[in-house]
């Protein structure tokens, strides 16, 4: 079958223009700027997964994949330029890894008919597929993250948070502000007291914020940080001797880059986990064999196995699975962005899919549907072990409080639909 498809693809390659023959997955990466520490491993993982597919399986469904990288520096203007520069190349799905760029691209991709996948970031209410036809943010979003963190705190407090004080240290941008609404709603529901503390871009200066935390003595600190802000926050928390096990970051605040600079001080720091960590998964053996040993590793090849590298793999795996699904639905190897969108909407990730890709138990099982682009909202908690220099997953999958979140999603997305005269789909 594969051979037949490959032959077909080869014939197609000879007949059609060569540029259209590949499945194009653009990577709006950032390997420079204040957020490069997070951007590099993700971009490496994303590129390496597609290299692996090309080397091991001969692409997806017999069609080779091609990753076009474009450097954004986490800057929205450059992100727009990258999008415009790559969209004509038959790009199947955009994953910008930046909330700012995501907000720019949401209306543009919808007008151009290209899907956008913002895995665990971006505009949370895009989970409502009735309004956002081309935007996907499965398997979990920020509001899920906020709720998962609160649910974890409920678990360790015997189900009662009343009278507790929780502080949110957040990046003062669209990204950092996202969880506030949810945390406020949950505060009304569970009776904890919420303090929000903003940190301005890029986040190197946080003395006054941590002074405030030292003064107010919150029981728990949550953090929505990215890039250099994380390391500084963890260092500052260690400096004021804040108990690290009471300090929980979102999944973007939980990589090796964030905790290593603080050394032993970071021991016990927790963060949410979107997926499994560590390099004990079979896929890493394949990456070593087909990518690294073949000398085709992306970037410097020094990020393999890190948390954000795994996230890049996970993002690429979900994109590749959606492409497979799209090929299945439309019966053709050379899929268009419109077909890719259908594939993403019909995507189903089962334990068998994960296992088949060498990532058993790596992420949650879920199915995307027309009205739910947001996935199940499952996440785990991981904790840093400074002596072993290793993240350990310490909980099972935690389910977010969907009652609270769905209401917020519907409210926000319908406001967006009314503002932009969007007709509801999926009826």
């Amino acid at each position: 079958m594969k051979l037949k498809l490959a032959t077909m693809a080869l014939t197609g390659l000879m007949a059609a223009a060569p540029a259209m023959a590949d499945l194009v997955f653009p990577s709006l990466s950032y390997r420079t700027g204040p957020y490069a520490a997070g951007g590099i491993p993700f971009a490496d993982g994303y590129a390496d997964y597609f290299t692996l597919l090309n080397e091991r399986d001969g692409g997806i469904g017999g069609v080779m994949t091609n990753v076009i990288e474009c450097e954004t520096g986490y800057n929205t203007e450059k992100g727009v330029e990258c999008y415009e520069a790559t969209k004509g190349e038959g790009s199947l799905v955009y994953q910008p890894l930046s909330t700012g760029i995501t907000y720019q691209l949401i209306p543009k991709v919808t007008a151009d008919g290209i899907p956008l996948h913002t895995m665990g970031y971006g505009r949370t209410s895009a989970a409502n597929g009735k309004v956002f036809s081309h935007v996907f943010n499965y398997p979990a979003n920020y509001w899920d993250g906020a709720s998962i963190a609160v649910n974890h705190l409920l678990d360790i407090n015997g189900g009662d948070l009343s009278g507790k004080k929780i502080a949110l240290v957040y990046h003062n941008s669209a990204y950092g502000k996202e969880p506030i609404r949810t945390l406020e709603e949950l505060s009304a529901k569970h009776g904890y007291e919420l303090t929000t503390i903003a940190v301005d871009h890029p986040g190197q200066e946080q003395k006054s914020q941590w002074l405030q935390i030292r003064r107010e003595r919150p029981d728990y600190v949550l953090m929505w940080g990215w890039g250099v802000m994380n390391q500084v926050a963890i260092q500052e928390a260690a400096n004021i001797r804040f108990p690290m096990e009471n300090f929980i970051g979102v999944w973007w605040s939980g990589s090796e880059n964030d905790v290593l600079p603080a050394g032993d001080g970071a021991n016990g720091y927790k963060s949410l986990a979107l997926h499994g960590t560590g390099s004990d998964y079979p896929i890493y053996a394949d990456i070593q064999k087909y990518v690294v040993d073949a000398g085709k590793a992306a970037g410097a090849g020094d990020q393999i196995g890190s948390v954000l590298y795994s996230r890049g793999l996970y993002a690429a795996m979900l994109a590749a699975e959606a492409a497979k699904k799209a090929q299945e639905i439309h019966g053709t190897g050379d899929i268009t962005p419109a077909m890719m969108r259908d594939g993403m909407e019909a995507l189903e990730i089962t334990a068998a899919t994960l296992e088949g890709n060498g990532m058993p138990g790596f992420g949650p099982e879920f199915a995307v549907s027309c009205d739910n682009h947001g996935g199940p909202g499952l996440g785990m908690v991981q904790q840093w072990d400074a002596t072993a220099k290793k993240w350990n997953i310490i909980t099972d999958m935690i389910q977010s409080d969907k009652d609270v979140i769905n209401a917020l999603v519907v409210e926000d997305s319908e406001a967006f639909a009314a503002e932009n005269n969007i007709e509801m789909r999926c009826n």
């Binding site: 990466s29 390997r31 420079t32 490069a36 590099i40 990288e69 474009c70 450097e71 520096g73 800057n75 929205t76 203007e77 727009v80 330029e81 415009e84 520069a85 969209k87 004509g88 909330t99 700012g100 907000y103 720019q104 949401i106 209306p107 543009k108 919808t110 007008a111 505009r123 949370t124 209410s125 003062n172 941008s173 669209a174 990204y175 502000k177 996202e178 506030i180 609404r181 903003a198 301005d200 871009h201 970037g299 926000d412 503002e419 932009n420 005269n421």
Partner: protein, 358 residues
């Protein structure tokens, strides 16, 4: 040769003081306008509009604005990003508050609101100048960005603090929002640029402009010959902020469509526009265009050559781009402190004398 003045006689003051006194220059200007209005809209595509022309035109307006303040009136300002943010947020509030009013009017009103804010922050210029004023305007930059981040009214209480431009049209053609055609984006910016440049040129060569330049060259002497420093400085702040506000409004509504204040209008934006007028040439309208073109086009060109043409790694190209642009800025400051406009002026002089230099 090309710039021959033989046969180009001026017999009246009006002829002599026109913007382009040399016939060849004048025809070149008409030719540029004809291409800009008559050719480019028909061949432009999304990439050229979003990556090249629209940012170039919008930054040109901002550079003209800053050039009036810094180049013509001598008041150093680092608040450009903040003032652009005022324009953007004013435009957003007007667009969402009065959806039936034309976007053109909103953009002009945003310029007006920014002018008022600019005058407010220009008040210290009566007592302080030079670096001290630069610091005062720097305070404006940080204060305004902080304000738009802090007060939810400015972003209509949206959960993320972002502002999004709803779809608006001019004469039935959509000019904001995702469904805008490339040519429509380009045309609305072009119309504003031409209007702004025309106003700026005529202001700077009239009595107002001479007052600004008198203040710039020596404020005490200007005061002695009867220039009112209060009026001159504040009018420079008002006019400058007006243009910068228009640039900010277009930047948000037409170019990006969604804006986050700290990221889009941070201190970097102030520096970027300042570099534009330094490289382009202080006190020159043409210099504003040249500087904007230099700062917008060079990075895109370098990227396309290094990554697209030579296939280099994206991070290597990005770092190299920083080095090349930075190096060129330094080189310009050393070799030609008066910028591209002065280089152009010198070239013209040389061509007029060619082939018989003194």
């Amino acid at each position: 040769m090309l710039y021959r003045e033989a046969g180009d006689f001026h017999t009246s003051y009006k002829d002599d003081s026109q913007t382009f006194p040399i016939k060849f220059d004048r025809y070149r200007y008409y030719a540029v306008l004809a291409v800009a209005f008559g050719v480019i809209p028909f061949i432009i595509n999304d990439y050229w509009a979003s990556a090249v022309f629209v940012p170039f035109l919008i930054y040109a307006i901002a550079a003209i604005g800053l050039n009036i303040l810094t180049g013509y009136c001598g008041q150093v300002s680092l608040g450009t990003g903040g003032f652009m943010a005022v324009g953007a947020y004013a435009c957003y509030k007007l667009m969402t508050g009065f959806p039936d009013v034309s976007i053109v009017i909103h953009v002009i009103l945003s310029g007006g609101i920014t002018a008022a804010v600019g005058v407010l922050f220009g008040l210290p210029s009566l007592r302080i100048k030079g670096f001290y004023l630069a610091v005062a305007t720097l305070a404006a930059q940080f204060f305004l960005v902080w304000l738009f981040n802090k007060v939810p009214w400015f972003y209509n209480y949206s959960a993320s603090g972002q502002i999004n431009a709803p779809e608006r049209s001019v004469l039935g053609v959509v000019v904001t929002g995702p469904n805008t055609e490339a040519w429509a984006k380009y045309m609305i910016c072009l119309v504003f640029v031409v209007a702004c440049a025309w106003i700026a040129r005529n202001l700077t060569r009239g009595a107002t402009g001479r007052r600004w330049m008198a203040i710039r060259d020596m404020d005490i002497a200007a005061e002695i010959i009867g220039v009112n420093p209060l009026g001159a400085k504040l009018s420079a702040f008002a006019v400058s902020s007006f243009f910068i506000g228009i640039a900010g409004a277009l930047f948000f509504s037409v170019y990006l469509g969604a804006v986050e204040v700290g990221e889009a209008f941070g201190i970097n934006k102030s520096f970027l526009v300042l570099f534009m007028i330094i490289i382009g040439g202080l006190g020159s309208i043409f210099g504003s265009f040249a500087g904007a073109a230099f700062m917008v086009l060079l990075p895109v060109l370098l990227k396309n050559v290094l990554v697209g043409g030579l296939g280099w790694a994206t991070d290597l190209a990005a770092h190299l781009e920083f080095m090349i642009v930075g190096g060129l800025i330094v080189l310009f400051l050393i070799v030609e402190p008066h910028g591209l406009a002065q280089l152009w002026r010198l070239t013209k002089e040389k061509l007029r004398l060619w082939p018989f230099p003194h």
